[in-house]
Amino acid sequence: MRIWAYGDDINTDMLFPGKYTYTCAKPDEIKPHLLEDLDPEFAKEVQPGDIVFAGKNFGCGSSREQPVVGLKAVGIEAIVARSYARIFYRAAINQGLLLIECPDAVTAYKPGLPVQLHLKESSITVGEQTFKFPTLPPEILAIRDAGGLLAYTRARLRAKAGAK
């Protein structure tokens, strides 16, 4: 498992350049361009189970969802940041991508330190230190846990149609 660490205010243009926004929508079209203008190594070397660390306001800027779709598709286990921009935060819930808001874990992280996620306990261990992180309200967690918003919506529509 590899940690990819970035700074503050990483915007969605850096995560997925605008010039591809209207020609790439499917995961396989998105993957080669992920983080293209931020870290050209990322798309080549990222592996399922990797974690992204970042500073404040991660995912600010455009509402394009390709960064979230792409990060989910390459198997990023979670993003750990000081804070997130709200459209990105919501897009991650809708794609079932785990975002962890934990400034202390970001401060504790230094390159080379081992990182372990404990999902059941909602905590993360960085080096020797373990930090609790906040979880989503149950009604929102239900969307993420359904596998994302469309799966959640489909289940609701089917239940409604079945009830008639």
Partner: protein, 420 residues
């Protein structure tokens, strides 16, 4: 308990007597905006729409603006798909290429009214706060789900109140004001928050308010909003909206704010946001003389006839410097027509400007006016992110129409107060 604007609109739309900051509510937005991304959005739920239909054909608004006219087969195919979707599902509000940038079109077609709740699959949806709507951006998947259900959840945001005092000086505009505010508040300073602007807003036109609300998202805001006053009423009347059809909201006295800020507009100077973040504020005087290869006046931030008039006032009878190029990108056909009638387009084109069709064009780097490595662009758009205009090794600086026009004359960043 006194409520903020956001609390009031979201309470009403959720059918509750009182929703407080932090509460989760479910609402049916009055409008759902999509643009060229409607092709990808409808693709996600094509089968579901066939099975369940769409929730409300009056809710979606589709405006083709991002890559227009189509730049290649792929974008042309997306546009074709969208036109077919509009016909098949009887989408009531559809605007084909050339009508304008979606945000300008939403407001000028009377589709956004005071007190409305609007969502859009575009981050600059927050613009509609200029006419007192609660408007916020969402991702494509959320838009797809809304097509099926017509409703979604909202977390009621905390609110920051910004009091604007006084009047902007000559050759200083709403763009300079909002760049100054974002420079102070920071790119994340209003994350998850509603931002209420009030105070001496009688000194700001609807166009000014549009520029300010448009950039709310650049400080992280969920929405940015102005109260309704005589200027709003005059504007809505001008575009043919009937008074009975709207329901303005404003915060109660004594509402709870996360933060209260105040700005003296008389102290604002021409401002520039330097690469690669919108909150990297500098007064124009610190950058005067910097060579600029491309100037862009327009976009949903500053592409209205009033912006083009300021530019024409500076460039009329003169020539764009041979060391730079000037692109004009009107916000909509209606705004372009106003600028044609006034003679401002004639003045700009005669001065050497290149006129682009009303749309998003170079702002997002998909086509039209991409930059080359090592080039600098001075733009009236809302983002200066790395790679934004198609090239990661180029630089984008943001400024007002007056500063960009003054710079087009010299090919170097120029204080508009010097050429006025």
């Amino acid at each position: 308990m006194p409520m903020t604007f956001a609390e009031k609109v979201l309470s009403r739309k959720a059918g509750k007597t009182s929703a407080r900051a932090g509460d989760l509510v479910t609402c049916k937005p009055d409008r759902l905006l999509m643009h060229d991304n409607a092709a990808a959005i409808t693709d996600k739920v094509a089968k579901d729409m066939a099975e369940f239909g769409i929730a409300n054909p009056e809710q979606p608004v589709i405006v083709l603006d991002h890559v227009i006219p189509a730049s290649d087969e792929k974008t042309a195919t997306s546009h074709k798909k969208i036109r077919e979707f509009v016909r098949k599902y009887g989408i009531k509000h559809f605007f084909d290429i050339g009508t304008g940038v979606c945000h300008q079109v939403m407001v000028e077609k009377g589709l956004i009214l005071p007190g409305m709740l609007a969502v859009g699959s575009d981050s600059h949806t927050c613009s509609y706060g200029a006419v007192n709507a609660f408007a916020t951006g969402i991702d494509r998947t959320e838009a797809a789900s809304l097509l099926l259900t017509g409703e979604t959840w909202f977390k009621v945001p905390e609110t920051i109140r910004i009091t604007l005092k006084g009047r902007l000086p000559e050759m200083v505009s709403a763009k300079d004001l909002i760049l100054t505010i974002i420079g102070k508040v920071g790119a994340d300073g209003a994350d998850y928050c509603s931002v209420e602007f009030w105070g001496d807003i009688a000194n700001l036109t609807i166009d000014d308010r549009f520029t300010i609300a448009n950039m709310g998202v650049e400080m992280g805001a969920k929405n940015a909003v102005f109260p309704v006053d005589e200027i709003t009423k005059g504007y809505l009347q001008e575009i043919g909206v009937k008074r009975m059809s709207w329901n303005p909201e404003w915060a109660d006295d004594g509402a709870t704010y996360r933060q209260e800020l105040s700005w003296n507009m008389a102290e604002v100077v021409p401002a520039i946001a330097v690469p690669h973040k919108v909150d990297k504020y500098k007064p124009v005087t610190e950058l005067a003389g910097l060579e600029i290869q491309q100037c862009l006046i327009g976009t949903c931030t500053n592409g209205r006839a009033s912006d083009l008039a300021v530019a024409a006032g500076i460039l009329c009878g003169k020539k764009v410097s041979a060391s730079t190029r000037l692109l004009i990108l009107p916000a909509s056909r209606a705004e372009l027509e106003k600028a044609l009638d006034s003679g401002d387009i004639q003045a700009l084109v005669s001065a050497g400007a290149v006129l682009l069709p009303p749309g998003c064009g170079p702002c997002l780097g998909a086509h039209q006016g991409c930059l080359a490595p090592g080039e600098r662009c001075l733009s009236t758009s809302n983002r200066n992110f790395k790679g934004r205009m198609g090239c990661k090794d180029a630089e984008i600086y943001l400024a007002s129409p007056a500063t960009v026009a003054a710079t087009a004359l010299t090919g170097r960043i120029t204080d508009p107060r010097e050429v006025a």
